[in-house]
């Protein structure tokens, strides 16, 4: 078995399941077979802490039976249980109430895939060794322990991991698609002793498609160490409305509050504060974002989406105006609109000209938010409330660390206060947020 090409194995299994579904009475089916190989090494305070290595496999089957819909999956891939699994699922699906909006996506939407080379696979993964992985994790600790103020360090945990993901999708109406991708991650977490008894921590990591693009382990460790040491002595600041500069790494949390209300399901279920706002300004003219599935080596790059729709680039916000929602084919039918795609791929922001330091110098007074803690948002109304930590800045310079604070507002209002973006998209998240600057944000503290 081990010598067979894994893609070929997945294709055989997926085709077999699709055939079984049709024979058992499904008019349509989509099958995805997936295989993920992961190796993780964790290093802590001078020695190996954990190693983990595994290859996981699974099959997902979407069934369309007599106008009814069921989605089932299994990791039990022995031939007999698999065949009976599909048959049983069809028997169960027949008991459901019908749903006239369910079917495979229109084949036209699946055709015309881009021929772009997304460059998502790094073949050098197979040359990594156990020792090599360990040395990468170990070097991150060395970087952390080399920072100024490292005497306060209590513990450093670092890690290296690499993943090869492969999947094959087939629809009974002819669509077939294969996806392959590698990722490599280096990370470090550092805990430091604050004289008041607290043990603040911070971290840094890099996540890339190609090993050659991964930064030196030492630099990741150093960034984590510097961030943690800088947290010492953090205090709760005053409750006030202030300018908020959001670090590019943290900004993804804020952007994530938009993904719920942008979804077709939220629209159709009357749970979106953005309903009816297509073509209207939601943010300031600086909010200019596209969904870009074709970014070479992008973390969420793809030629087709999770239901097989051919990927395409489209604007989400243009000069602040809402241009598109994320609508899959099911909710597209319910809403009587053309689907875009089920979920976001990579975001491409129209960037500003300046870096974070220059933006802070310009803003003069306010809070630099470097991390969010908990909180939530109400997609139906747009209200949000999020815990924050970071630094006060005064006279255009970063000053004392602050923590145990909160920001709150409404999505329909806060993006209109976006007054600047950095030139620094964060490369290790698919949301690729730059530093964001908002005016007049309500902070809660003392």
């Amino acid at each position: 078995m081990a010598t067979l090409d894994p893609i070929r194995q997945m294709q055989d299994m997926a085709r077999g399941a699709a055939d079984a579904a049709r024979k058992a009475g499904a008019q349509q089916a989509a099958v995805t077979a997936a295989r993920v190989r992961t190796v993780e090494v964790e290093w802590r305070d001078g020695r190996l802490e954990r190693v983990k290595e595994a290859t996981t496999r699974g099959l997902q089957v979407e069934l369309y039976v007599d106008g009814r819909y069921s989605s089932v999956g299994t990791s039990d891939l022995r031939p007999d249980p698999l065949a009976s699994f599909v048959e049983t699922a069809i028997v169960m699906a027949r008991k459901l109430e019908p749903d006239p909006f369910r079917s495979l996506p229109d084949p036209k939407l699946c055709q015309g895939q881009s021929k772009a080379d997304l460059d998502l696979v790094d073949a050098s993964q197979s040359s990594l060794t156990a020792v090599g992985r360990r040395e990468r994790a170990q070097a991150a600790e060395a970087g952390a322990r080399g920072v100024k103020g490292s005497a306060a360090i209590l513990s450093v945990t670092s890690g290296f991991s690499d993943v090869l993901s492969e999947s094959f999708r087939i629809h009974t109406d002819g669509f077939e698609g294969t996806r392959r991708g590698t990722t490599f991650q280096i990370s470090a977490e550092v805990s430091v002793k604050d004289p008041d008894g607290r043990r603040p921590e911070d971290w840094d990591y890099a996540l890339v498609r190609h090993l050659a693009a991964i930064p030196a382990s030492e630099s990741v460790g150093r960034a984590a160490g510097e961030r943690a040491v800088a947290r010492i002595g953090s205090k709760k600041g005053e409750s006030a409305a202030m300018t908020m500069v959001v670090d590019s790494r943290a900004a993804s949390r804020l952007v994530a509050t938009l993904t719920g209300p942008l979804s077709g399901m939220a629209l159709q279920q009357k749970q979106s504060c953005l309903e009816g706002k297509l073509g209207q300004p939601i943010g300031s003219a600086l909010l200019d974002v596209a969904d870009d599935p074709f970014l070479p080596r992008g973390l969420e790059s793809r030629l087709f989406d999770s239901e097989g729709l051919a990927a395409r680039r489209f604007p989400v916000f243009e000069k602040g105006v809402l241009r598109n929602f994320y609508v899959d084919s099911y909710y597209g039918r319910k809403l009587k609109v053309e689907p875009t795609t089920r979920g976001a791929s990579n975001l491409a922001w129209t960037l500003g000209a300046k870096g974070q330091d220059a933006l802070i110098a310009e803003a003069k007074e306010g809070v630099l938010v470097t991390g969010f803690l908990g909180g939530n948002s109400n997609g139906t109304t747009g209200d949000f409330s999020l815990g924050v930590q970071g630094y006060r800045f005064r006279g255009g310079k970063v000053a004392e660390p602050i923590g145990e604070m909160n920001i709150s507002g409404n999505l329909l209002e806060v993006w209109k206060r976006l007054v600047a973006l950095g030139n620094d998209p964060y490369p290790y998240s698919r949301l690729r947020t730059p530093t964001l600057v908002f005016e007049g944000v309500q902070f809660a503290g003392v």
Partner: protein, 515 residues
């Protein structure tokens, strides 16, 4: 290990809010047990059908110990989760997921090697054992020479109607009736979404001491969400319940409560005024406010963080951390609770652990690795999401015992503050101690009375400081029935929580309005 931007933050959320992927009885072709064979594997009940025998376990554990590990264990899991969804007036979607796999762990001191596979052939499992064994690098140690099957587990999942025997014809009408009742109960309700899920299956743990434990683990969840409209405004809300129980769990009282709570929690949002901002006294309602304990102290008491010296509670055992009437426990024994377990995922007995006893910090939550590190007995907190993960110290049902005050007395004592009724999620930085919890519904307290509703506000505090500031505890303990899932190191595990009404003398409320 894979941090993906989470750092060492731990969080909890109401799992009802995500679609439960789950299915149907008999989804596994071989669900019918073969007749029991006599002989050396006669004690293996559930996993016998998958070909798990004592000789197989012995061989795997011998390989896991072959490079000198201190101990090793094998974790088999079979889980069949099923789900039904109602949307736009019809029960028109079903989900099912079968998980079958095995993980092998080798432990050397604090160091752990782990491998897993979905392929239950001996050669595939041996490969995992080799991967795990490589954490050590010394002469082989012996695997178990004989096995002892742990036959006397507690019975904390009192199931009458097993999910294996339940058909969609029984559950679909429940969902349809719930929707009809929700729509009929208030004309403002325009959309209803219901997700129902159940799970059955078992785990088997065999370790290098020769212990074999099997536990059959049921679970069920129901989440009703609705969207209401009033004068052109919309609000969404919901209610969910979860338990280790069978179909009988959904009795008339519970179903009526699900509808009532979901609808009232949604429609009251129309009356809400903006929450105040800044530090103020906060009263936490009995029940789901137990999220405060989970975030403010529970995670910080998980012994792996203390073994690594990175918890804010690392040097506080035996020291006073709260008023003497504050008692906090983590409990595996609440029959039927979502956080209940008969045995932990390392095969250790799991009971009740005192985190805080009469205001004194008492005991960490241990798995076997941290227990060996500290030279104490494991507390039965070694848990994992699935066979794909090595166990970690995790909470079960975390709650505060009743105290000397009454709810009325507590509310009456606050001149100006916030009363928090229910919650959706929370998160903590376990070293700095800062934590948050998100209040979906609450009330303003003005001159000792609940006056106007508030909503959608995050509360943020620091664990040890907030524990000290719990200065009143009522006698009305409620264990919340919601479907909470705790996240740590990328693993989600089911938990419960509870608390009596308590007062926190001062904490930061993240509202939109200057107090």
């Amino acid at each position: 290990m894979a941090m993906h931007g989470m750092g060492r933050r731990k969080f909890m959320k109401m799992s009802g809010a995500t679609l439960i992927v789950a299915g149907a009885a008999d989804l596994v072709g071989c669900a019918t047990a073969k007749p029991k064979a006599d002989g050396p594997s006669a004690g293996i009940r559930y996993f016998d059908r998958f070909g798990v025998t004592e000789p197989l376990l012995a061989e795997v554990l011998a390989v896991a110990m072959s490079r000198g590990a201190d101990s090793a264990d094998v974790f088999f899991q079979h889980r069949v989760s099923s789900g039904l969804g109602l949307q736009d007036g019809a029960v028109n979607r079903s989900y099912a997921q079968v998980s079958l796999g095995v993980g092998v762990r080798a432990v050397k001191g604090d160091q752990q090697g782990y491998g897993f596979t979905e392929d239950l052939s001996l050669s595939a499992i041996i490969d995992c054992a080799r991967t795990a064994a490589a954490i050590a690098d010394g002469p082989a140690r012996l695997g178990p020479q004989r096995f002892h099957v742990e036959g006397k587990l507690p019975d904390r999942y009192p199931v009458k109607v097993r999910w294996e025997d339940v058909r969609p014809e029984q559950t679909m009408p429940i969902l349809s009736r719930l929707e009809a009742r929700a729509l009929a109960s208030d004309p403002r309700v325009k959309k209803v979404n219901i997700n129902f899920g159940d799970e059955y299956g078992a785990v088997l743990i065999a370790d290098s001491s020769g212990r074999i434990v099997e536990d059959v683990q049921p679970m069920t969840r129901l989440y009703l969400q609705c969207t209401a409209e009033q004068n052109g405004r919309r609000e969404s809300g919901g209610y969910n319940v979860a338990a280790r129980a069978g179909l009988e769990y959904y009795d008339e009282d519970r179903l009526a409560r699900v509808v009532r709570e979901a609808v009232t929690r949604t429609t009251i949002l129309f009356e809400a005024v903006p929450a105040p901002t800044g530090e103020m006294p906060v009263v936490l309602a009995a029940g789901s406010s137990g999220i405060l304990l989970h975030e403010a102290i529970g995670h910080g008491m998980e012994a792996d963080f203390n073994r690594k010296n990175v918890s804010i509670f690392s040097d506080k055992i035996g020291k006073p951390v709260a008023h003497p009437f504050v008692n906090i426990v983590d409990d595996a024994t609440l029959a039927g609770a979502r956080g209940a377990i008969n045995v932990d995922d390392e095969g250790n007995p799991s009971g009740l652990t005192h985190l805080v006893e009469n205001g004194i910090l008492s005991t960490y939550l241990h798995d076997s690795v941290s227990a060996r590190h500290y030279g104490v007995k494991p507390t039965g907190n070694g848990r994992r999401e699935s066979y794909q993960f090595a166990p970690l110290p995790r909470m079960r049902a975390t709650y505060m015992l009743p105290g000397p005050h009454s709810k009325d007395e507590i509310v009456a004592s606050v001149k100006k503050g916030v009363f928090c009724s229910n919650f959706t999620n929370g998160q903590v930085n376990i070293g700095a101690g800062d934590f948050t919890f998100y209040v979906k519904n609450g009330w303003l307290i003005e001159d000792g009375k609940l006056t106007r509703p508030v909503k959608d506000v995050n509360v943020i505090g620091n664990g040890p400081k907030v524990l000290e500031k719990i200065d009143m505890v009522a006698n009305d303990l409620v264990i919340d029935e919601g479907g909470w899932t705790c996240g740590k190191d990328g693993q989600g595990v089911p938990v419960s929580q509870g608390i009596p009404t308590v007062r926190v003398s001062s904490i930061t409320v993240g509202g939109q309005r200057k107090a």
